[in-house]
């Protein structure tokens, strides 16, 4: 490790540098990417280490060690997978240490001293690392660094032949690509081959190599790729191609066409042929080109092969290469070129202004290069490529597009133009015309368009798309930029949009500004709209990159610079930022504003993704206010029309957008909107919600419609939108209310919350009648339907009761909500009912909301008894431990209650504080209430659920630190005046600190218990706190139990037994200000819990667990029985728990507690032993076993000297199989009574056991 450290220091460490940069200005782009090979020395030394082991004989490094070395290098080199060119300067130093031992072993085991031996696994590791470098950088680059000596060829081939195919493939792959390099040696192979004979044309070594190579073509792994390359290199040699190449092609054709051809081999053969046509000389290949056409047709007729993407790709690729071979290599003279581009010649010429002469040359058409014949076969090639562009697989299309570019480069102008025309036709495939003359692209294939775009981009990048074609192609590209079609449950077309961005990007590089000038308007508009409004982050980024390239190279895009500066890679990365900040900024430029609005209204607002529609609606509103006349004259009417569409997607987007736009427009308009918007449009807007058909409000998809309607109504209400004359207003409002009420009854919680907010907006603005209010109130009464109860409980809390229209209802609403919040069942209609958990939670939250809104008006509105009712409701809520199939649903109510206290207590206590001492009886909260609040919150703060502890802590901090005057500035040296009057404030504030980090600590079991356990000293809070501790320490969750119980036992063990003990130690008879707990008091508190909660297993089971813990650690045994503490009631309590109990956990905890209690000895022990012996014949075998185990442990751990009897008892306990039937066990058990010195109790009334 230290070595590593040294190396790190020596070299320039880019990672460390980046860290310091980030620290300095807080600027965090995405991930860090290295800009050069910074850890080269580390990599090279690791490589040298790997290569230093002997490759023959037993391995020095075991499997684990090899694996470690391998992983280490994979990590080091893997970092460069995406920027592998950075490795280039070091490649030689990386590869030569690896290949040197390989060469040695290859020679040694084939023809050298160690002939017959095999390479060991350390050798495989070396090959593995070589392959790792190949994988990262690409074998084409790596192969250049491998040695290519004549002497290596035969041994390497021999070595390859010996490789077991069961061993790792990396070895074979690396050997094959190495061999492929050796096949390029310029000497005649005949002179190398030791078995060659002069008189034969054939070379035995080559024969063997080809046969061996062919077998590798059947491999499914990467070694097949290596073999393809190896064969291609071998077959395109000058001394082999004449005889062997036609043979191979013939073989390939036969095996591809045979009925037994296998797919893997077919891929291998096709790949080999592709290589051959890439590497071979044109004159060698021309003679076999014809045969290749037959071969391709043959493959195309085999359905089994044509379903494979790799085969299809190779067909396109091979066909293209055959085509290129048929045409003479040339650069199209007719291609479009821009500028003179050599730096040296520019500088050499020195003189200025010669640009115009050389730029934009399209060579004269009458050049003689048009006078050559194009073989007919080329037509087949073009057709095949054209089909490839429409293929289902991306790799096929991409290969075809590149092929199109290369082929066109060699074609005469006329024919190339036909190709371009053919590609254009791909766009119009399956395009229908809409009634308004626009093309309908909903049924076109996204594959075809993607392929066509790629081909266009490839052509224009090479200057093969002549400027006069642009007028035709640009409308298609603009459509492609917006191509987003929903197919079933998902959308297609992101690849089309991406490739259209590529087209635009390549335009920027290919053409001069004046060529594109006429198209700039449309292109820039669309590119910008896609940059900010596309759903996919990659497309937004691609589009903005294309735009940037265009701005930089053309300089003719209006406001290009400003836009590029704002809409950069990062700012548009976040969809919200892109829609809501970047887009409105760009819309600030008049040239783009209307187009962006129109794009939103026409395209984005009806996007299939609901999240996009929602954010687009907000974007429309933000852009609309920039041009109110356009918004009122065009956007709002268009949205109004769409809002009543029958298509639920369009309707959803338009409803939200209409609401938001109306609200924004009204807020920004200095004259009434009636003067801006045509009366019929105003009328139509008010009719939107009422005219929504009934069926869309229920059933599938209705939640979206309702959500949109709620937003719509909320916005219009908040804007106080004019609803026409009184009668009309009434009818609209009625319809709105109907929608709100039915939405409140929905099962979806977000929808209910939304509807309750709409309720607030509506009644705040337009009001409702008393009768209607009564109806709402009736919906939360006991017995009301539960969904409605949930919704209306929420809605009633949204009303502002300071409003004189509703203030009369305040106390009735609170009373009704209090009833709803009660988790104790109440009688209703002859049955016991209780509201469901959601209703209870909503009711409590609503009361909190009401209190929050009232704030300082609380005094006028809420009577003392009502205030107390609210407080008691919260306290009752904290006792809500209801459980249903979803788990601890009561926790929602407890959380809501805590949040309620957090809001209410500071408000009320502040009001109390302003009263003088004489008016103390007018206070809402008495001292005891203050203590109770804190005690109950403390209990929650040590409970099991993290979230609950967090909520409790937040509430405690808010309450404890609430100041009389929250606005007052802190005065140094003077404590602020707090509203909460509680004893021991100083101790509490030490534990419950007010700081941000604290909020995290409360969530962590490891922190919170150790912190809070000290508060057990404070008698005012002890009981509740202890309750909380018991539940956590006796719980089931392992980590929680560990942290809480260790804190508790540690704390209890530090307690003095009685007060006097403590005094003696302190030597101080003054009563100290901080009270301390004694063990006796602690034990009494435990008994208090028992008295109060016996029968509630939620508490009793954990309590038994905790008792067991405390006895086990011996703490409670410090108490003398019965002088310090009378344990008899405790024994009786435990006994009661074991009777008629079927809860396994409770029983076993009771047994363990019994055994703990035995430690007290004397009468108690005897009484307990009787109980335990009874439990030994308990009906549950598991309980019998547990009892036996615990008893044995207890007896053997006893301090008393072992006697013969006790040993005998132990023997019985251990050796008996307690799983036997009770009847058989009873006599065994009975033997123990005398041994333990007990009298067998007489059966008073024989219990009937079955």
């Amino acid at each position: 490790m230290s070595d590593d450290q040294d190396q790190q220091d020596e070299k320039f460490d880019i990672e460390a540098l980046l860290d310091s940069v980030e620290d300095s200005d807080g600027y965090h782009p995405t991930s860090k990417t290295p800009s050069f090979f910074y850890n080269s020395s580390e990599v090279i030394s690791a490589i040298k280490h790997v290569a230093s082991f002997p490759l023959v004989g037993p391995c020095k490094v075991d499997l684990r060690g090899r694996w470690g070395l391998q992983m280490n290098l994979e990590n080091l080199i893997g970092k460069y997978q995406y920027q592998s060119y950075l490795l280039d300067p070091m490649l030689e130093q990386m590869i030569s240490p690896l290949i040197t031992p390989i060469r040695k072993v290859v020679h040694d085991v084939t023809f050298g001293d160690l002939k017959g031996e095999v390479m060991n696994e350390q050798g495989d590791l070396v090959f593995y690392i070589l392959n790792l470098i190949c994988k990262t950088r690409g074998y084409k680059t790596i192969v250049k660094f491998l040695p290519h000596e004549v002497a290596d060829l035969e041994p390497t081939f021999e070595f390859l032949k010996k490789q077991d195919k069961k061993r790792v493939w990396e070895t074979r792959y690396v050997l094959l690509i190495w061999l492929s390099l050796m096949c390029m040696i310029p000497f005649d192979l005949k002179t190398i081959d030791s078995q060659a004979t002069k008189d034969s044309e054939r070379i035995p070594l080559v024969d063997q190599m080809i046969e061996k190579g062919k077998t590798f073509l059947q491999c499914a792994g990467k070694d097949r790729d290596g073999a393809s390359l190896f064969l291609a290199r071998l077959l395109t040699r000058k001394d082999t191609c004449r005889i062997y190449l036609p043979e191979f092609v013939h073989w390939a054709k036969n095996s591809l066409q045979s009925d037994t051809s296998n797919l893997i081999e077919a891929i291998g053969i096709m790949a080999t042929l592709c290589w051959i046509f890439k590497l071979g000389q044109r004159e060698v290949l021309l003679p076999i080109a014809d045969e290749l056409e037959d071969l391709l047709v043959g493959v195309e007729n085999k359905d089994g092969l044509m379903s494979n993407s790799a085969i299809k790709k190779y067909i396109v690729k091979l066909s293209q290469r055959v085509g290129l071979c048929l045409l003479k290599p040339r650069v199209a003279a007719w291609r479009y070129q821009r500028g003179n581009r050599s730096l040296v010649s520019n500088l050499a010429s020195g003189v200025t202004s010669r640009m115009e002469k050389v730029s934009m040359t399209i060579a004269d058409e009458d050049e003689d290069d048009e006078n050559f014949d194009v073989p007919d076969a080329v037509e087949n090639v073009i057709e095949r490529l054209m089909n490839g562009l429409r293929d289902r697989d991306t790799i096929v299309r991409w290969s075809a597009a590149k092929g199109m570019g290369r082929m066109s480069n060699r074609l005469p102008k006329e024919m190339a133009d036909d190709v371009v025309g053919g590609i254009f036709e791909l766009f119009s495939e399956d395009v229908f015309e809409l009634p308004n003359g626009e093309p309908d692209i909903s049924s076109v294939s996204e594959h075809t368009w993607h392929g066509a775009c790629l081909a266009i981009a490839e052509l224009s990048r090479r200057g093969l798309l002549l400027p006069h074609r642009l007028t035709e192609v640009i409308p298609w590209i603009i459509l492609a930029l917006k191509f987003d079609v929903k197919r079933g449950a998902h959308s297609v077309g992101s690849n089309v949009r991406d490739s259209a961005c590529y087209v635009c990007w390549s335009f920027a590089r290919a053409y001069t500004p004046d060529v594109l000038d006429v198209h700039v308007r449309k292109l820039s508009n669309t590119l910008i709209a896609v940059s900010v409004f596309d759903r996919d982050i990659n497309i937004r980024r691609a589009s903005s990159a294309a735009f940037q390239e265009n701005v930089g190279r053309m300089g003719i895009f209006p406001h290009g610079i400003d836009i590029v500066t704002v809409a950069d890679y990062f700012s548009i990365g976040n969809i919200n930022n892109s829609f809501l900040n970047v887009a409105p900024y760009i819309a600030g430029f008049e040239e783009y504003r209307r187009y962006l609005s129109e794009h939103l209204v026409e395209v984005v607002i009806s996007h299939w993704d609901i999240a996009v529609r929602e954010v687009a609606a907000e974007a429309i509103a933000r852009i609309a206010v920039l041009d109110l006349d356009f918004a009122c004259g065009t956007i709002i009417p268009a949205l109004t029309k769409n809002a009543t569409s029958l298509d639920s997607v369009i309707r959803h987007g338009a409803l939200i957008a209409l609401g938001r736009t109306c609200k924004a427009v009204k807020a920004h308009s200095d004259i009434p909107v009636e003067e801006r918007i045509a009366p019929e449009v105003l009328q139509a807007i008010t009719q939107v919600a009422p005219s929504i058909p009934e069926f869309t409000l229920s059933g599938f998809g209705s939640e979206h419609t309702r959500q949109a309607l709620c937003v719509h109504i909320t916005c219009l209400s908040e804007a106080a939108w004019p609803l026409g004359n009184e009668a009309h207003q009434a009818s609209v409002l009625n319809s709105w209310k109907g929608i709100i009420y039915t939405t409140l009854e929905r099962v979806e919680e977000p929808l209910q919350r939304l509807a309750s907010e709409t309720f607030r907006a509506l009644i705040g603005q337009y009001g409702i009648t008393e009768t209607e209010f009564e109806q709402c109130l009736a919906r939360v009464r006991p017995g009301a339907e539960y969904l409605g109860k949930r919704g209306f409980a929420l809605a009633l809390g949204e009303v502002d009761y300071r409003d004189s229209r509703y203030s009369g209802f305040t106390s009735r609403v609170i009373e009704a909500l209090d009833v709803t919040a009660n988790h104790n069942p109440v009688a209703h209609g002859g049955a016991e009912v209780k509201p469901d958990a959601e209703s209870r939670r909503n009711a409590i939250n609503s009361v909190t909301n009401i209190v929050k809104v009232l704030n300082t008006d609380y005094k006028q509105m809420i009577s003392h008894s009502m205030s107390n009712k609210i407080l008691q409701m919260y306290f009752r809520g904290l006792e809500d431990y209801s459980v249903d199939h979803r788990g601890d649903v009561g926790s929602w109510i407890r959380e809501a209650s805590m949040q309620g206290l957090q809001v209410m207590v500071p408000i009320v206590a502040r009001l109390d504080h302003h009263l003088t001492h004489e008016q103390a009886d007018q206070r809402y909260l008495v001292e005891a209430d203050h203590v109770q609040v804190l005690a109950k919150l403390l209990q929650q703060s040590v409970e099991k659920i993290d979230r609950i502890r967090g909520a409790a802590a937040t509430a405690m901090v808010a309450i404890l630190y609430a100041e009389v005057d929250p606005e007052a500035e802190a005065v140094a040296g003077k404590d602020p005046e707090y509203v909460l009057r509680v004893p021991h404030r100083a101790e509490l504030m030490k534990v419950i600190e007010k700081s941000d980090e604290m909020s995290l600590i409360w969530l962590q079991a490891s922190e919170v218990y150790a912190r809070i356990v000290k508060l057990l000293h404070l008698p005012e809070y002890r009981f509740e706190l202890l309750l909380g501790f018991v539940v956590s320490a006796g719980g089931l969750t392992e980590t929680l139990v560990r942290h809480s119980s260790s804190c508790l036992t540690e704390f209890v063990s530090s307690l003095p037994v009685t007060k006097s003990d403590d005094m003696e130690v302190d030597g101080n008879d003054n009563v100290s200000t901080t009270p301390t707990l004694t063990l006796v008091e602690f034990a009494h508190d435990i008994m208090k819990i028992i008295d109060r909660y016996e029968g509630q297993d939620r508490l009793i089971v954990p309590l038994l667990e905790v008792l067991d813990l405390l006895f086990e650690s011996g703490i409670l045994l410090l108490l003398e029985h019965p002088t310090d503490f009378d344990f008899a009631p405790l024994v009786k309590f435990v006994r009661r728990q074991t009777i008629k109990c079927k809860d396994m956990r409770k029983l076993s905890a009771s047994i363990r507690t019994f055994c703990g209690l035995c430690g007290l000895g004397g009468k108690i022990k005897n009484a307990i032993l009787l109980e335990l012996l009874r439990l030994l014949v308990h009906p549950f075998p598991k309980i019998r076993r547990t009892t036996a185990d615990s008893m044995y442990l207890m007896l053997s751990g006893s301090v008393e000297e072992p006697t013969l009897e006790s040993e005998e008892v132990g023997k019985i306990l251990v050796e008996t199989d307690w799983n036997l039937a009770v009847g058989a066990l009873t006599p065994i058990r009975d033997r123990m009574y005398p041994l333990l010195g007990l009298e067998k109790p007489k059966v008073v009334s024989a219990p009937v056991r079955t």
Binding site: F12, I14, L17, L18, V21, E22, S24, D25, Y27, P29, T30, K32, T33, S35, F36, Y85, L86, D88, P89, L91, T141, G339, N340, R341, S342, L343, V344, N346, L347, S349, T352, S353, R354, M355, T394, W398, R461, N495, D498, C501, Y502, W505, R509, N538, R541, A542, A545, A546, Q548, V551, G552, R553, G555, I561, V564, T565, V566, D568, Y569, F570
Partner: protein
């Protein structure tokens, strides 16, 4: 297979290099660019925004981004689609008053993460003017020797006469080439 991958592939295949031409305003960035692009340098007005020019040199395809001397230029090299390989920092050697500004800007620039590792060429431009500082003086004034995070070089030049421009570009292309491309 998105635009990003395509561009990356093309970039490597065609041995593309991206150079950023930066410096205070009126340092002569556009003049240098126009000069090496073989354009007319008689009429040059302050650059608002940026120009991209593509040139071939020593087998590399250089995309030179001439960015105006204004401040908010970060977004140009924050484009992740293309990595910046080299920086050409142009200094007006005759403008002694703003050398301090120039130093500050340069050192701030070098802190940019997207530029880390990029080769830095400082052109001490306007050597043809009387009273121009020499490249050694500029090197001292800009505290170039304190730069350890980048390969750098400084060269006096004149966009007007064209002196040393080729030498400078040779250095920067050579340095980038040896750093990220395998020289054949």
């Amino acid at each position: 297979m998105g635009l990003l991958t395509i561009l990356k592939k093309n970039r490597q295949k065609e041995k593309e290099i991206r150079l950023l031409m930066l410096g205070l305003d009126n340092a002569g960035k556009t003049t240098i660019l126009k000069r090496i692009n073989g354009e007319d340098i008689d009429t040059i007005s302050p650059t608002l925004g940026f120009n991209i020019k593509t040139l071939e040199h020593n087998g590399f395809k250089m995309n030179i981004w001439d960015v105006g001397g204004q401040k908010s230029i970060r977004s140009y090299w924050r484009n992740y689609f293309e990595q910046t390989d080299g920086l050409v920092w142009v200094v007006d050697s005759a403008d002694r008053l703003r050398l301090e500004d120039c130093k500050k800007e340069l050192h701030e620039l070098l802190q940019e993460e997207r530029l880390s590792g990029a080769s830095l060429l400082v052109f001490a431009n306007k050597q043809d003017l009387p009273g121009a500082l020499t490249d050694d003086q500029i090197r001292e004034a800009l505290e170039l020797d304190s730069i350890v995070t980048h390969h750098w070089a400084i060269l006096g030049c004149s966009a007007k006469t064209g002196s040393h421009l080729l030498k400078g570009m040779d250095w920067v292309v050579g340095d980038i080439g040896s750093r990220i491309y395998l020289l054949d």
